[in-house]
């Protein structure tokens, strides 16, 4: 095994930044109060949460009272979709796309099983939702439009601003899952009503995130109880997690101007390097992409074994292959952008992060041709050199 593994799976999760750990530590065993408590421990916890709320609100230019803390983007997505459904039972139709994260798709499916109609919009071969298609899909009984800000598998950025304007015109709430996009690209929060974020995609802690809920949008809570978060999400607040989320966001936004161009550079370098290998396809859009995600397909080999072979060589990446999924079907995103099934099986997602170095990218580019060659050597499908 390689002594110093190279982590290129930052869209799955990220290491905690040193600054983030440092921000959380005081809240473990010193300032450990419950933010609802009256005494000094409670007041300090409360102040820490409100400070975090204010600084997160600032990153997207909204009011602190519009930020609802959750356990992550999955909960934020579910709260947005099911929470809106429970609050407006007369609206029975949802518009979303075929390439949403499972948190959105399966929340929609859950409602479908309970009698809702869901329009799953097609995307083009780059993975882009057509704003006109959203316009056509909206009906009088449309509860919600949910289109992600940037795709977690292929990186494609969606036209959130345009879709938001359409929704505003039609008076339909618009939710965007910004699980991958937040902190990486500009999100026109003024165009959205609901927005999901997860800390651990951002060098923040796992198990915490937030949902931005525009003032005036009415949701029913999924987690009822003590009335925390203005009654929208009960449960003792995860103070260190919330503080860590805010620290991670502050870090991401303060570093954006240096980190994002670096990641874009890595992405271009990766595309150039990998596309030299024969029988390779770039999945997604070369330009309109999140900076940190790039997705390839390799003819003749299967993605799970590719990831495992890379792991043997000390490189952590991921795949949308059927063999890597619990239901043994290839990625719905790759299918939606019409990657041929054989190629969908051979997909590889590389995602960089703030800690990724040029040496690591180059080491990957050095290793990948031989790994592909080895696996093709034992494959019955031969690829022209």
């Amino acid at each position: 095994m390689d002594p110093d593994p190279i982590y290129l799976d930052n869209s799955a999760t990220t290491p905690l930044a040193g600054e983030v750990i440092a921000s959380m530590e005081p809240y473990f065993s010193d300032e450990y109060g419950n933010a609802s408590s009256l005494h000094r421990f409670g007041r300090r916890a409360h102040a820490a949460i409100e400070e975090a709320r204010a600084s997160l609100a600032e990153t997207i230019g909204v009011e602190p009272s519009e930020i609802v803390f959750t356990s992550g983007a999955t909960e934020a997505d579910n709260l947005a979709i099911k929470g809106l459904a429970f609050a407006h039972p007369e609206k029975r139709h949802i518009v979303t796309s075929r390439i949403e994260h499972h948190a959105v798709l399966h929340a929609c499916r859950w409602l479908e099983e309970r009698g809702y109609e869901v329009t799953y919009l097609d995307v083009d071969r780059a993975g882009r939702v057509e704003p006109e298609a959203v316009k056509e899909a909206i009906r009088d009984d449309t509860l919600l439009v949910s289109i992600m800000a940037g795709n977690n598998e292929i990186g494609t950025i969606e036209p959130i601003g345009e879709i938001g304007e359409i929704c505003k015109e039609r008076g339909v709430p618009f939710h965007t899952d910004a699980g991958q996009a937040y902190g990486k690209v500009d999100i026109p929060a003024g165009s959205v009503d609901l927005l999901s974020v997860s800390a651990h995609k951002l060098n923040g802690p796992k198990g915490v995130g937030f949902l931005y809920v525009r003032k005036g949008i009415r949701l029913s809570p999924l987690l009822s109880g003590g009335g925390h978060e203005r009654g929208l999400r009960s449960g003792t607040e995860n103070v260190p997690g919330i503080v860590g989320l805010a620290a991670a966001a502050r870090l991401a936004f303060s570093e954006r101007e240096t980190v994002v161009p670096r990641l874009r550079g890595f992405r271009e370098r990766l595309i150039e390097g990998v596309m030299r290998i024969p029988g390779v396809r770039l999945n997604g859009d070369r330009k309109e992409s999140l900076p940190h995600i790039v997705n390839f397909s390799f003819a003749g080999i299967e993605g799970e074994s590719l990831v495992m072979r890379l792991d043997e060589r000390g490189i952590a990446a991921s795949t949308g292959s059927a063999c890597s999924s619990p239901n043994l079907e290839p990625s719905h995103v790759l299918v939606a952008i019409r990657v041929p099934l054989s190629m969908a099986h051979g997909s590889l997602r590389i995602s960089t992060g703030r800690q990724t170095t040029e040496e690591e990218v180059d080491r990957f580019l050095e290793v990948i041709p031989s790994v592909v060659e080895e696996l093709r050597a034992i494959s019955p499908f031969k690829v022209e050199g």
């Binding site: 074994s305 063999c323 619990p326 019409r338 099934l341 099986h345 034992i378 494959s379 019955p380």
Partner: protein
């Protein structure tokens, strides 16, 4: 999902891989839809006592870690065996020899045993020999499954819009 040490070891150092020169028969199983395809080559020769044995074996596999490890393992298990002995190798044998497979991956070990069966079936058929009922049954089941898969494949591709 957890692979055993043995699976990882075979995945890392697969035995008998590649295409066999001068093979007697090849068994082709699997389908690109489900993402596992295995071609198993056998060379059948008579041993000193005049019994037909699998004197050499190799494989080419498109598939996951488990598919590659089971390919390697089945080739080790079958090598040097008489045909009746080789026919008797089950997918359970393959999985057990690897120290077990994650539940979701058990179908990969089935694939490896199936490929061995198909290769022997093709060998016997190619030589105009009688096919043992067990082998024939399995062959027919595989054919039926393949047909079903191809139908699903069509539906899948249509759904994918290409």
């Amino acid at each position: 999902m957890m692979y055993t040490e043995k699976v990882i070891e075979h995945f890392r150092n697969p035995r008998n891989m590649g295409k066999l020169e001068g093979y007697s028969a090849v068994g082709k199983v699997g389908n690109i839809v489900c993402g596992d395809v295995m071609w198993l080559y056998i060379k059948v020769e008579e041993d000193a006592e005049g019994r037909e044995v699998i004197s050499d074996i190799s494989w080419e596999t498109f598939g996951c870690t488990a598919a590659i490890a089971t390919s390697s393992m089945v080739s080790e298990l079958a090598k040097g065996k008489t045909l009746p002995e080789a026919i008797a190798i089950t997918n359970q044998d393959v999985a057990s020899e690897l120290g077990g497979l994650p539940p979701v991956k058990m179908h990969c070990s089935a694939l490896a045993a199936d490929a061995l069966n198909e290769a022997i079936y093709e060998y016997l058929k190619g030589h105009g020999r009688e096919i043992p009922p067990v082998l024939k049954r399995r062959h027919e089941r595989l054919e039926a499954e393949m047909k079903k898969l191809e139908e699903r494949y069509r539906a899948f591709l249509e759904e994918a819009g290409s």
